[in-house]
């Protein structure tokens, strides 16, 4: 079984975790830019983006794992419009780096007007960056964080409204809206976007609930991730979700679709992403 974790914050993990991921069949990770646990300075963001684009790919490569990343000013720090202006001005330069897949994880935190403004500015950057002749893509890939807990439903609606306001400039197939749960997954999928489920203690989904959502809403345009950041999190939560699905009788082709091929399909829209979906033939023996 092979895995791609589409949303995992490896800067908050030790190198031993890379080894563990490699031993567990992870062939690639995708790491969005996020909040450090404290507010950074604009210069601090530049160092962080270099860590994502230079150091982490080297660390991952020791274990044969492809490391990709996303660049943005995280929603939690978007309240500071001055900082946002300085950081956003540098994003286009980093989008050109060989392991950067797109703009993310942008989104909302407490659903404030400033956060919304900075979200829209990020989307515009993704649109403007795609006007380089390449493959006809409307915009760079976009990865979106939806708020935690009681802010999630309202924030998800706000995000969808703002994306709708961009009209035909947005291609839903090039946008993944993450951290969906039972009350937001339909909103995201019905609007044609990709959806990500995060398996994380207390504040997000569990393996069992994630498999429930896959069964209820279908595996199309759906990914599972471990996030694995500053809380009591586990980089193998994606694997635990696979085991839960297996426990219920889901077979290898279905498991590969969710845990490897869906991420490969979404990220593969950026030519930098080297891994393609794989096919397995599953022979049923009778008698």
């Amino acid at each position: 079984m092979f895995f791609i974790d589409p949303h995992i914050h490896m800067v908050s993990r030790t190198t031993a975790d890379y080894e563990m991921l490699a031993l567990s069949g992870v062939v690639a990770v995708s790491e969005p830019a996020f909040w450090a646990g404290f507010d950074r300075s604009p210069a601090g963001f530049m160092d962080y983006f270099r860590q994502l684009t230079e150091f982490e790919p080297r660390r991952a490569a020791q274990f044969g794992i492809e490391h990709y990343c996303w660049i943005c000013l995280n929603p939690k720090e978007a309240e500071d419009l001055g900082k946002a202006r300085e950081v956003l001005a540098e994003i286009p330069k980093f989008l050109a780096c060989p392991s950067v897949l797109g703009v993310g994880e942008i989104g909302l935190n407490k659903n404030t007007p400033n956060e919304a403004k900075v979200f829209q500015q990020h989307v515009q950057i993704a649109i403007d960056a795609a006007h380089q002749p390449r493959d006809g893509a409307k915009h760079e890939l976009i990865l979106i964080h939806t708020p935690h807990l009681e802010d999630k439903l309202k924030g998800t609606r706000m995000i969808l409204d703002m994306l709708r306001d961009f009209g035909s400039a947005i291609d839903p197939s090039r946008v993944l809206i993450d951290h969906v749960e039972e009350h937001t997954i339909s909103l995201v999928k019905d609007a044609g976007f990709w959806a990500g489920m995060t398996i994380y203690p207390i504040s997000k989904a569990t393996p069992a609930r994630a498999v429930d959502m896959i069964e209820t809403h279908g595996a199309e345009r759906l990914c599972v991730n471990a996030a694995a950041d500053w809380g009591v999190s586990d980089p193998l939560n994606t694997h635990r979700t696979m085991l839960e699905a297996q426990r219920r009788g889901h077979k290898l082709p279905e498991l590969l679709k969710v845990f490897h091929n869906n991420p490969a399909e979404f990220f593969g829209q950026n030519p930098k992403f080297k891994i393609r979906p794989i096919e397995v033939q599953y022979v049923m023996h009778h008698g």
């Binding site: 807990l149 039972e182 203690p201 207390i202 504040s203 569990t206 069992a208 609930r209 429930d212 069964e215 209820t216």
Partner: protein
């Protein structure tokens, strides 16, 4: 000392709520999801009278009591007599 008077490590009620609310919320959602999962499965109607589901429903009644002793009551509910 009466059970109701044993303070949880010196925390006030608000502090206990602050500490444990999110965990309780997560477990309620987990329970709701488990019940939904049963309803989604073939034969859901036939298991409605299963004693294990009756146990869950009776436990939910216990959770609505306003006095302490709920955890013990649920344990006793599930114990062989």
């Amino acid at each position: 000392m009466e059970m109701a008077q044993q303070s949880p490590g010196g925390l006030t009620a608000v502090q206990v709520l602050d500490t444990y609310f999110l965990e309780a919320r997560a477990r309620l959602i987990e329970l709701a999801a488990a019940l939904d999962r049963i309803d989604r499965a073939p034969g859901a109607g036939a298991v409605r009278a299963d004693p294990r589901l009756t146990f869950i429903q009776d436990s939910l009644q216990i959770l609505q009591r306003s006095e302490p002793g709920r955890a013990r009551a649920i344990q006793e509910l599930y114990s062989l007599k």
